[in-house]
């Protein structure tokens, strides 16, 4: 880890540990906006990481940003930091200065926005964001547009982790007046998918680290039969399984992130997301078994991370989504043996679809 990255991780860890409490996450789930946390993150430069200084960004690279998101996932920070960082990058690519406003993004190549009235379905954090970056067809052309949400009507909805997933009803949008850019569909779709998958994967890896920490704490603290339950082999085996799943998830994530940073990412993306989504269910299941009944209560904080794992493993394609996509690619164009496929450096392209 570089010194800079170490500093970022250390500082982010301190901020999140201090500011993200169980009560804060509960309140967010009740609909409250975590404004104080958001402002702290803005001041620390964490919502604008990976963006050049001349565009009001914090500098840093994708590796730094994914490290921050891993911690955001670990502490279940109830703010749209993932969405804002990614939307910020997409805007920065168009030379738009970052504003530190909570921002969401949505990619949809199925429909065509013509205005003046339309509904954006299932916008992450829709009720709390001031703007949405929309990537898709606009009047028949591939575009990236910036939609202010001030006048949008919100129909509330949430994922199983209680994170907002709202429908935004825009009634009279003057399409011409919007900030908008023509884009290369294939390139942008691939980029959004890459950073979306990696960002979510980083958050899931962080959440799994937290599950492991909570489990270790509980195994040391909880006493039955006159000793901590961590003294029992059956429980130790649960801890070992949690550790190994977490370690292998980190190995998948770190390799994929390194490939993204050096510009070679191809099959690493689906392979990593497949492993990480698969591990999410296993990790959550083992941790609940280890925690017994207390882990099923709202009072205990375990569910704040396990529900996120169950929600996020479906985001940006679950393991079967990616497995099928990869299988199709492989059948269609791959002349390589499986071993060539695993060990070759450059190997065909996995094209993005419209799954966000």
């Amino acid at each position: 880890m570089s010194e800079m990255l170490e500093y970022i991780v250390d500082a982010t860890n301190k901020i999140l540990k201090k500011n993200v409490t169980k009560e804060l996450i509960d309140a967010s789930e009740q609909g409250e906006w975590s404004g104080k946390l958001w402002n702290t993150l803005v001041e620390a430069g964490l919502v604008s990481i990976g963006i050049d200084e001349e565009l009001n960004g914090t500098e840093g690279d994708a590796i730094d940003a994914f490290a921050v998101l891993r911690l955001a996932g670990k502490y279940a920070a109830p703010v749209p930091i993932f969405e804002t960082i990614i939307a910020g990058w997409l805007l920065a690519d168009q030379q738009v200065e970052t504003t530190y406003q909570p921002t969401s993004f949505i990619m949809d190549w199925e429909s065509d926005l013509t205005g003046p009235e339309f509904v954006l379905k299932q916008v992450p954090w829709g009720r709390h964001v001031s703007q949405v970056v929309y990537i898709g067809n606009v009047n028949g052309r591939a575009k990236l547009i910036l939609l202010p949400t001030a006048d949008a009507e919100v129909k509330q909805n949430q994922n199983i982790a209680g994170e907002p997933l709202d429908d935004l009803h825009f009634r009279s949008i003057d399409m011409e007046a919007l900030t908008q850019f023509e884009v290369e569909k294939e390139d942008l779709a691939e980029k959004v998918l890459n950073i979306g998958v990696l960002g979510k994967s980083a958050m899931m890896a962080g959440a799994m680290e937290q599950v492991l920490e909570l489990s270790v704490f509980y195994a040391n603290e909880r006493q039955q039969f006159g000793r901590p339950i961590g003294k029992f082999q059956a429980v130790q085996h649960h801890l070992a399984a949690l550790s190994s799943e977490t370690a292998v998830v980190l190995a998948a994530l770190n390799y994929a992130v390194a490939s993204f940073e050096d510009g070679t990412i191809k099959e690493e993306l689906p392979l990593a997301k497949m492993k990480i989504s698969e591990a999410a269910g296993a990790v959550a299941g083992i941790a609940h078994q280890l925690h017994g009944a207390i882990g099923m209560t709202h009072e205990h904080q375990l569910h704040q991370v396990t529900r996120r794992l169950w929600a996020w493993r479906e985001d940006f394609g679950n393991e079967m989504h990616w497995a099928k996509k990869l299988a199709k690619e492989y059948v269609d164009q791959n002349e390589l043996t499986l071993w060539d496929f695993i060990t070759e450096e450059k190997r065909g392209n996995v094209h993005a679809g419209s799954i966000i």
Binding site: H237, S243, K324, W339
Partner: protein, 383 residues
């Protein structure tokens, strides 16, 4: 809480070229009939010819100093060779343990004379080692071994018995863990020492233990007043446990804990591709995703070993997950491709399936059972 991140290793262009060279060599050797592809061939496939040919290429002991017959190449280069051998299922058991464990043990703890005597022969693929650890009453509880070595004039007299000794009937030597002072309950890991026992020495009796298939790769090795000269003590008397544990890190984290059944998976994917079976392929690729992730982890451990870091926890994690994956390959494949598992079948996939299923129980036992590994991991994270 321990950090579970491992180094990310990306192969260099030279390393990728080297991989191609190794692969090409192995493909052409297979083509000309030097060997056939088998599952679990690193444990059960013996070919002196293949071992010698690999030695001639400089691919045994390749990280060792040149003065001892090595090539002074990196641990990552060695990793590439071992992976290629496993992926093609080449018979490499004869030299595997000497290359992986015994050689590094000599380099770390051996005398100059031992290094000069053993290492060049090992690297030529002509000198094979077995590992003498388990005994009839000492399996997972290895510290309870009873084989003892008593000091005599000019050396040691060894008495006892080792079991599950893979390849003892092929090997020239056995690195043997013996008790050199009486067991002390307060210091369970003290009082043990490692000896190089010449398997042709007087007093050695090797008896086969048939594997459940009837194959012979395990043995019982009886030692009845076997004389071991002083210059065949490895490292320090009394330090055998620590020395042996250092070996285990090499043993537990390598690609042989992930790829034992890879030939079956590769054959399956080829078959599904021919059948245009996208749904079957998708299921097979989920195994590939697990394999790819674990492979990153295992290479990360190889890098840590190269940097001299403690990898006992990380190696245990790799082995626990990797060996379960090796077993899962057969269990998944059998539902994707209809096979009639048979070791004598002419259809390759039937044969690989048979080998993978029949050898499967051993994957999670050998080199430290899953239960023992999980104990190590749990103690590591609870501490």
């Amino acid at each position: 809480m321990k950090n579970l991140d491992l180094p990310v290793v990306k192969f260099t262009a030279e390393q990728n070229e080297f991989r191609k060279t190794v692969r090409q060599f192995l493909l052409s050797e297979r083509e000309r009939g030097t060997f056939q592809t088998h599952a679990d061939s690193w444990m059960s496939g013996y070919s002196y010819e293949v071992s010698k040919k690999l030695g001639a290429q400089g691919w045994i002991g390749m990280t060792w100093p040149k003065e001892y017959g090595g090539q002074e190449r990196s641990a990552i280069d060695r990793y590439i060779v071992t992976e290629e051998l496993l992926a093609i299922g080449a018979p490499v058991a004869a030299h595997w343990f000497a290359d992986r464990q015994s050689g590094p043990l000599f380099l770390k703890f051996g005398t100059e004379e031992q290094k000069q005597f053993f290492l060049p022969k090992i690297s030529k693929g002509e000198c094979y080692f077995s590992i003498g650890l388990s005994e009839p009453n000492s399996g997972s509880d290895l510290a309870s071994i009873q084989t003892r070595a008593e000091k005599v004039e000019g050396g040691w007299l060894v008495n006892g018995m080792k079991t599950w000794t893979s390849g003892a009937h092929h090997s020239h030597y056995m690195i043997t863990l013996c008790r050199t002072s009486p067991k002390d309950e307060k210091n369970r890991h003290g009082g043990m020492s490692q000896f190089v026992i010449d398997l042709a020495a007087e007093g050695i009796t090797i008896q086969p233990i048939q594997f459940l298939t009837g194959e012979h790769h395990f043995n019982e090795v009886f030692m009845d007043n076997v004389f071991v000269p002083d210059n065949r003590v490895v490292g320090e008397i009394g330090n055998g446990w620590e020395q042996g544990m250092a070996e285990l890190a090499y043993e537990r984290s390598g690609p042989e804990r992930i790829l034992s059944t890879f030939p079956l998976l590769q054959e399956t994917v080829e078959y599904l591709k021919e059948q245009n079976d996208v749904s079957g392929l998708a299921q097979a690729l989920q195994l590939v995703s697990r394999m790819w992730s674990l492979r990153n982890m295992s290479i990360g451990v190889a890098q840590m070993l190269e940097e001299g870091e403690d990898v006992s926890l990380a190696a245990s994690l790799v082995k626990d997950l990797g060996t379960k994956l090796e077993q899962a390959v057969a269990e998944t494949v059998r539902l994707l491709v209809e096979t009639k598992p048979s070791v004598t079948s002419e259809r390759l996939i039937d044969r690989l399936m048979a080998e993978s299923v029949l050898h499967g129980p051993g994957f999670t036992l050998r080199g430290g059972t899953t239960e023992i590994l999980r104990g190590i991991v749990a103690k590591g994270v609870l501490a």
